[in-house]
Subunit: 186 residues, 6 copies
């Protein structure tokens, strides 16, 4: 699994959640997490979460860090949603390490009661994907600046740390499941 | 999914990791997390982790809180290991809420650099299971008493809180995956 | 799993077979069976069964009871087709209880040699679905009125009984598979 | 898929539920249903249903028709249990055709309120199996003789009819799932 | 599984890779390999391999033998790609039997260093497919004529031999996996 | 995936087919192919192929090259058997490159009409495995010495080449399946 941090500003419009976006954009032929920073404005046709659609929710941020995770090893919805929950907890751990105290409800993180993140997960016939976005600045919602992580260098360092940590966790899981005997039964 | 907290002391000898232990012991016919407290002494024939076997590791604790999680919805090793990692992060969150600061490495939690927990996950042909144990007291390893969670009431409350939290997370995941459209492809 | 019986007339045009229709229409975040009564006229773009398309078959009824079943626990074609066959047998049992003697061929029920029902099953990347329709009245095909089940109250009671029975069977299966040991081998 | 009806008396002791019994006994290298008639006395080590074990239930019949179904196309517990339910409904249909009116509760058939059948389903790492048994005669439980199906010829004809019907249903399902388009999504 | 060799010239434009093409065209309700010969000119919207799209590769041949394989028994990407590799090796074996010495790199065969074949594999929610094409004549790429297999009769015989061989291999695999005991564990 | 060639003589007694043998013996926590050379004498309790058991076949060779392949990415029988067939074809290709002409029937290679190889594949709840053995010398069966590959250096070079080739093929497949769009449907 590979972590790619885009060096330039890159906007998220929702099309990046499509299967094979990472291959098409960067030629990567491994499972991957691509991390970038830019504006976020999700078009209605790319809204995967029907709750957002039904609520006519806008998914908008002037400045957001996005993680796009893609796995080709399974198309099981349960697995990608469990991976999403774990990724959310992982982000929370890294924020805590930076002294940012958040609360978690499912796949959402909150900062001082304000929603800090957006996330969605789903599958196609060939891969499973997660989008996880964290506001860097926002007029209404929680954001990293408010939490004291406002400098570009800090944000860049956070992006790299979390992306690489997920790859390490994934590889660690792959190793661990290769040393456990099958269960007996009563 | 059901959470069962055993009211009496119950020792862990490793046989509880077998598939269907929860049904056989408590008649539960749902996915379940069974939580109990007692001594821990895993017999060699119940050691699922071959690393422990090879290292001739003793899995022993005079007083341990154990969580036994069983799912019948899949026998995918990747899924149960991802669930295990997420459960580990969940335990860490609850400890943090109690003011206990730990570090996490994969499925292990550490308290002041000393290993606080043990965990294993695997599958049989019919179910997938996790054992996650936390020392309440221990001469060598990290333990809850050292962390200031020494009173029986505190421990009991922690056991119930974490067990029920996992059930809520599981049910929340099941709901979330029922409102997401399939992904498009580039 | 949840059974929803629509209180008002609702027409079936084939779009209801799409994944997530139940969530989008009723906000349900469980596996579900939605039961309704109304006209049936399936548009060509919603025809899932290519045999009907190739035969330029019209799927039309002035008054039909429809069951829309959706499961998110698997996307295995074999499973949804076996569920469809079982549902067909279940409908037949309930008709027999009302004194209506039918014959079954695969997923079709016949009344006095005339086709009484239509059915289709398939999967997307996120869910598996069944549509099962029974004519209440029809000029050509078998129908409930001809079978003596013509009063609205009778039909409503039948709709509720079958929908709820399927939920009970599903939940019973989920319980049963949580108490069986894995098989040995010769 | 192949149906094999044993011409001679054959007793069921529970070992026939093991994976690969059909291959080992009859050299069959297809999915199969093997049908035979004889005494039934299930040894405790072959009891798959832990409910029976816990209840210290005896699974005993002096004369029983047994169907042993084995599929190698999947090891999904949900699928084999759905197949079991469908098989139960199929048996009921054939009994009804012979004028024998039964009631069904899950995977059990009752004759005049007395349990007529036993059944279990499970999986190993290589196959999934069902045992379905119907008492031909029994002092306590429902049985075919009491239902008027007492002559050997009648029983033999019933065994063949049901076994072959299941094969036909299976093959019909395999055909049907090869002509359905994938579902769209809302 | 069925092998269908089209008696008339049939051009490949990429639409034949769609799921259910074989059913829609020939009414086949089994897994199948359809073999035909004609021009090849793949439209951009039917290009499954994004590498070709990105490279703006033309997939064109004036005269090509095409094998279209469809399986409905799984939608696992790993399985269809392994089947594709095996099919490639099988084609190579048959060419060798005709005295044509090729080299293989993954799913490509080369004749005197020139690419002789094209191939792609993928899945939808309902089936998995392979296209494997071999140039009969080509100005630039390797082709059967150059290899001395230029007569129509020879080509027709090769098409039939390979198609039927794949069916035999598939059926042989299905038999073999029905006689192996599950593995033990250390 | 990792290839391990054992430098010393190592005898095959069938226990090496057990899941986790590679981890237990060499600490490898990846999918793996372990290659070694030594005597072969399979004990009856390790015979996975029931055909051999029924035939009371001896699996014996005074000098055999063995490939033990283990994958943890799936427990699908169809996949491991397809991998086995592909591996067999791969071995044949490498033998041909050395000028050794064999014939293949399923998973068996023959040299001058004499069986040169033995092979078996199966799964446990945690992994899937293949054993593929080639006689180096044998009184009755085909063997490498007879084929002119008798020197230790030649055999060692062949062992390494084939083992590493399988790893390359596996990794190539993993890459290829990460650049293909999902199929459309008719």
């Amino acid at each position: 699994m590979k972590c790619i941090v885009l060096p330039e500003k890159y906007d998220y419009d929702g099309s990046q959640i499509s299967s094979l976006w990472a291959y098409n954009s960067f030629g990567v032929q491994e499972d991957s997490v691509v991390v970038f920073r830019g504006a976020c404005d999700v078009k209605i046709e790319h809204m995967i979460d029907l709750e957002d659609r039904r609520a006519n929710e806008s998914i908008w941020s002037e400045d957001m860090v996005s993680f796009i995770i893609e796995h080709f090893d399974s198309t099981d919805l349960k697995l990608i949603y469990t991976r999403q929950r774990f990724f959310t907890a992982l982000v929370r751990e890294y924020l805590a390490d930076l002294g940012v105290r958040t609360t978690r409800e499912g796949d959402d993180l909150f900062l001082n009661g304000k929603k800090l993140t957006v996330s969605i997960a789903s599958t196609s016939a060939v891969s499973q994907k997660i989008h996880f976005g964290i506001n860097v600045s926002h007029d209404v919602y929680g954001n990293l600046k408010e939490a004291g992580i406002g400098e570009d260098k800090q944000v860049a360092s956070f992006m790299k740390a979390v992306g690489e940590a997920y790859v390490r966790e994934f590889e660690d899981i792959e190793k661990d499941l290769r040393k456990s005997r099958p269960l007996g039964a009563i």
